[in-house]
């Protein structure tokens, strides 16, 4: 019905169903879908009648850009902040940092994006308001990436800094840190060489898991800044009842989630020397 329009006749609906294979038993439809999947065939969009695979390939780089840069900023800002608030525990930087992270998790991501957009793009005119820039021009792409990436990054910072802080506090209370200090190792060296590496282990796991949250956040950010992307595609597929596109995007998305979890597990095993794979 969605594809043909509301005035489609009974015969047209039946004809389309036959063409799409919807009148076959469900198991057969499923295996056909899987078979097509292996060939990279994801079907045609119900609305635009273009190949879904091609459309996904077109927008995927933008989502990838956004997610990766958001994560990069999140780690870059979050980890040092977490360490700082742990070292200066219960003093001013700690309170400020914790208020910041509590605020960070209470602000809806899209609102943060709108705020940033309003201050930096509309009022101060420092950055472009919408769009992703000409794909050929790297500079332009980066320029359009700044505000959206910071939106995701700041939200992630609030989360990561909390994790890093508690993990760092745990490590700083451990015996081997006391030993290092007793030995006379300078505070800086203690933190860097002994505490930091161990504190980063749980942080890595969390960062890996947060990647999926980041993908979810990219949906809203793409809409706020009118960027093309996988998330936006999914939303419009839901609104237009374009089930072919929706199916394909979910598959890609699940694959990404699976892949990220796998990478996180491997990374975790590599970093934590106590875990050995046989």
């Amino acid at each position: 019905m969605a594809a043909l329009g509301t005035y489609a006749s009974e015969e047209q609906i039946r004809a389309l169903e036959h063409q799409m294979g919807l009148d076959q038993p469900v198991m057969l439809q499923y295996t056909t879908f899987l078979k097509n999947l292996c060939h990279g065939e994801l079907g045609k969009s119900l609305i635009t009648h273009q190949s879904v695979a091609k459309e996904i390939a077109k927008v995927f780089p933008y989502t990838f850009d956004l997610t990766v840069s958001g994560m990069f900023l999140g780690i870059l800002m979050g980890v040092p902040l977490g360490i700082l608030t742990a070292i200066k525990r219960n003093r001013l930087p700690d309170y400020l940092g914790r208020i910041f992270s509590l605020t960070g998790i209470s602000v809806p991501e899209f609102y943060l994006g709108i705020l940033l957009m309003y201050i930096f793009a509309v009022k101060l005119n420092m950055f472009p308001v919408v769009g992703a820039g000409d794909p050929g021009n790297l500079g332009e792409r980066l320029y359009h990436l700044v505000l959206p990436a910071f939106t995701l990054g700041i939200a992630m910072t609030a989360f990561v800094s909390r994790m890093t802080r508690s993990s760092m506090l745990n490590v700083l209370g451990e015996d081997y840190v006391r030993t290092a200090r007793a030995k006379g190792v300078s505070e800086g060296m203690t933190i860097y060489k002994h505490a930091l590496r161990n504190a980063l282990i749980p942080t890595t796991t969390v960062v890996g898991l947060y990647a999926t949250v980041l993908m979810g956040g990219s949906v809203l950010t793409e809409i706020v800044f009118s960027r093309p992307g996988l998330g936006k595609m999914m939303v419009f597929a839901v609104k237009d009842r374009d089930y072919m596109t929706l199916q394909a995007v979910i598959v890609i998305f699940s694959a990404a989630v699976f892949f990220l979890n796998l990478v996180t597990d491997i990374l975790y095993a590599l970093i934590d020397p106590r875990i050995k794979y046989h």
């Binding site: 509590l102 209470s106 809806p108 949906v219 839901v238 979910i250």
Partner: protein, 283 residues
Amino acid sequence: MPEDIRKGLFFYTFRRNKIAIAGLVMAVVIVCLSILAPWISPYDPIEQDIKSQYLPPSLTHLCGTDGYGRDEFSRILWGGRVSLMVGVGSVLFGMVFGVSMGILGGYKGGKWDVVVSRFNDIFMSFPLVIFGLLILAILGPGLLKIIIAIGVALTPRISRLARASTLSVKELPYIEAARAVGQGDGKIMLIHVLPNIFGELLVMGTMWIATAIIVEASLSFIGLGVRPPTPSWGSMIRSGLDQLTNAPWLSMIPGLAIFLTVFSFNLIADGLRDIADPRLRGA
């Protein structure tokens, strides 16, 4: 304990609690405003008045008017009802199913646990907004459907935490005693396990209410929330976005409302966690 350490601990706890009480007060104010919305809102939230489009905040319209001339302040009050209903409703829904599953898997172990844990693992990797999106795609828009959608999305996460809590109380002596006198599993889970994890559930629930409110706002922002013209903070931000340059208050103020509500619930959750933390009970 030496006098000064006890005083320090007391003031520290009190200071933390003051923050939590501030959160509680804020939340109570917001809840009351939303409940009383039908009586205290100055205008009808869906009444249009095209002559008064995009008016800035003033004495007659505390938060200005939107594109249809509707009073923004009234819409904020009524939008609060939607956000709170969805927030609390979806968490209750999620807890009914999530806690049951979590306790079942955690207490009984074995096959039950495998089923529950696999279920959690599979569905937890999906971000809340996307999962809610998918369920709404199936169910269609509407207040009740959003509550169900977000509730279902929350269930695996709640279930996981409930299971972890159950595991920690499972080996307590009086539960063993109850088993020894032959009390059935079901009764034990209901009468002994549940009341013991209640504190942790309360903290978790408060946090999830905060999250649910944000998810509802996100879904409304995308356009899959309650149907217009019912106001929702998220959809108000969306329509305000188009007018960011000449009427910024239309998207700023609902956003501020969301932030204050969510922030207050997070403060309450933090405060409850402090109370439940055995380390602070030493004083």
